[in-house]
Symmetry: C2
Subunit: 451 residues, 2 copies
């Protein structure tokens, strides 16, 4: 439990009422109670369903009125037309928060809009905080709490998702979320609340936002600027184009605005907008596995000259540049190369490796680069079977970031080898590597400037 | 063996002299003879090394002069200073082609430049065709021939690499090469020769170029325009920026020109320039696994509205658009959705799936989309455990392309499931999917226009 924040009630409730819980259980039943048990939730659970009886050995209360006093949180998944009345009753019972999973409100039809207005009224008059409606709610792997009706994985990943959609709780390739909040139609709880919640949450090091629209722009910018100093905030804006913009209106009932406005807002908020989902995983892996760095001078160690050239093109696009190695470094390794070869960065070592043993040369050259004070980052281009050699050198120089571009068509072999040696900072291409490094570097520069 | 082309001697030699072959064997020895045996080469091999004797049970000829007449091809890996004389002797022995692996020519120092000029002289006066120098040479998995001193995989992949570097013979993630040619310093054999060679090669369906510089621009454009009609040609230009351009001068001795000039040339040649290595795998997987398509109307089947919105943004960027489904399609599936939900494309089916069984609903909706004549392509957004359901529907409609964006953080699970059901057309993000589809679609449009 962190410092006092009203979202504690949502992320770590001591007791929860599950109102409108399904009586079906098992595969395909989308039963919140069942998911919560599977998630290892240790608080008290109070299922509510008009039919009463028992579900999964829990007594089912036929009405909200019959519940005991003092329950922290309601999770509401009844028919939409009864939601406002149920919320009212929850407030009367003294519950301090409610997650409304039910859909069919402002994102749907006029009746839905009317119903959502009634929810708004209750929230403001009764003081009960509302997440949703049209929300999967909360996922907290660390606290073993989830209101999801979809079974979710439970990774203890130091990454939080704040999203106008629950569809991404399962994560993006190479980016698992340890905590998540689906803001749904944001009738009450909104981005600033959630961002400030994670500010002092020690479980979380990186925050990912999926945004369709921001209501309170100045508050959003203020909070992002503050929280972004300590934790990088990555944002994906959905509904950037004509087609996506239209669809977002019927998804969360929000009017998605034009792309340049949002781009400007995110820039002002000093958070990192990315346009492609795979970049989330790229940044996450790099940020969580690399030591901090602020410089942009890169040494490239490579068995292929063409690979080095592609890497130089990629780094230049993202504001990085080849390091100019010191005389000392060159002198340390020059004897490995043929006399007519210009020894410098990028370090193309295939023929040196043929003459003196490939892994020996790779190790020596990588080591010298890591010792060189003109080098901020090393890019190691390699085949899958050089990963072990690289890891051994990395272990001796943990203070300097090493990223890998592993060549070869067999992705599963590459993943097997990098997994085996615990390397996370490898990329499918130098372009993806340096795109991710650019974001990470900007974060560290900003952090250094503001601390 | 295809029609008469002088490169047949290089790709499918009946006999080969290995001049300057190493006497070391085993791991780390970089022995061409050993690699060739491992590759299953069935022609005659004649190792040459001044020390004579035997290597791997092959008689070693101490001099080129002692070789029998009528050998097709020489692979030369001697010291650089004797290369011109060796080439001369090979020509005298009646060999028709030579791969010069030795490095240290025009990419190195003044002496190297002088030596390369002597090679040029011999090639033009004697009529022997020369690949290289500074080249790994040839890799032909189908014909079991390779001149590589690096052990290579041998995938029967219908993709050819033509490269100013041998470093990419091992492939890029998700793109294995069944045949490859490293042009090295291109003193004789050059891009147009190699591109025309693959034109009528039935083993090859897709051609990838790694280019640092093009010498004969008009010939290059002419050949590309012709071959590109039947087989897509993808090109990566190395040395696009300042840093990469400088490095390419010392890599293949070529002066890399400014990026916009090359960009224009590739456009004129009607080939597809891509800037990021991972796009090679994306295009290759899509092209080899999807049925042909020319339209740009996409149906999106999804359990997450936000995923659909990101997909709409991505498709719009690449010239695709959401299909407007027919009344018939809507009528077929409308009963699955709640009455207040607008049923249309994108098809967000989570709540319908909760009510009527998720896999059942996914199947039905996907099937209806595939039958709809306004739909050219279907994007199926899903979790790893829906892949099987999707594959079953795909099998019944093999004529329409289906691509998958599989959500979830666990890439190895995603790969396991897609492998298990033989699905190759899945992507890490809709952005990568539609970037690849754009290239594939342009190829099919062009092919239809010119046939």
């Amino acid at each position: 439990m962190q410092r006092e924040h009203f979202l504690n009630i949502f992320f770590e409730p001591k007791s929860v009422a599950l109102i409108g819980v399904s009586r079906k259980t098992g595969r395909g039943s989308f039963n919140v109670l069942e998911n919560l048990i599977r998630f290892g939730y240790e608080g008290n659970m109070y299922p509510v369903n008009p039919n009463g009886g028992e579900v999964l050995n829990f007594k089912v209360y036929p009405k909200v009125e019959f519940l005991p006093e003092g329950i922290d949180l309601a999770v509401i998944m009844t028919r939409r037309d009864v939601v406002p009345a149920v919320l009212e009753k929850c407030a009367k019972k003294g519950m301090r928060g409610a997650i409304i999973i039910t859909e069919g409100f402002s994102e749907a039809d006029p009746e839905g809009k009317f119903l959502q207005a009634r929810i708004d009224d209750t929230a403001s008059s009764r003081g009960i905080r509302v997440l949703g409606p049209n929300s999967i709610g909360i996922m907290n792997s660390f606290g073993h709490f989830s209101s999801s009706f979809v079974p979710l994985p439970q990774p203890l990943a130091p990454v939080a998702l704040i999203s106008q959609s629950g569809g991404f709780f399962e994560g993006f390739p190479d980016c698992a979320f340890g905590k998540g909040i689906d803001l749904g139609n944001t009738c009450d709880v909104d981005f600033p609340d959630a961002i400030s919640y994670f500010e002092e949450d020690d479980d979380i090091r990186l925050i990912v936002l999926y945004v369709e629209s921001i209501k309170n722009v100045s508050e959003f910018i203020l909070i992002c600027k503050r929280v972004g100093r300590s934790k990088p905030i990555i944002v994906i804006k959905g509904g950037r184009g004509e087609f996506g913009g239209k669809a977002s209106a019927s998804h969360t009932g929000s009017l998605s605005s034009r792309d340049p406005l949002y781009r400007g807002m995110f820039r002002q908020a000093k958070i990192f907008q990315i346009d492609s989902a795979e970049a989330i995983g790229d940044i996450t892996r790099g940020f969580l596995s690399l030591p901090p760095f602020k410089g942009n001078r890169v040494a490239v160690v490579t068995p292929t000259g063409a690979g080095a050239i592609m890497a130089l093109d990629a780094m230049e696009n993202q504001g990085f540049r080849p390091a100019e190695l010191t005389r000392k470094t060159i002198d340390e390794i020059a004897h490995l190369f043929k006399p007519w070869i210009h020894v410098g960065n990028p370090l193309d070592l295939l023929s040196a490796g043929m003459a003196h043993g490939y892994k020996h040369v790779y190790s020596k050259v990588l080591e010298s680069c890591l010792r060189d004070e003109t080098v901020d980052i090393v890019l190691a281009i390699c085949g899958a079977y050089t990963v072990k050699t690289i890891k051994e050198v990395m272990k001796r120089s943990p203070q300097k970031p090493v990223i890998l571009w592993v060549l070869g068509a067999d992705k599963s072999l590459i993943e097997k080898r990098t997994d085996l040696y615990g390397i996370r900072s490898y990329y499918d291409s130098p372009d993806r590597a340096f795109s991710a490094l650019k974001v990470i570097r900007e974060h560290y520069i900003r952090r250094a400037m503001t601390n």
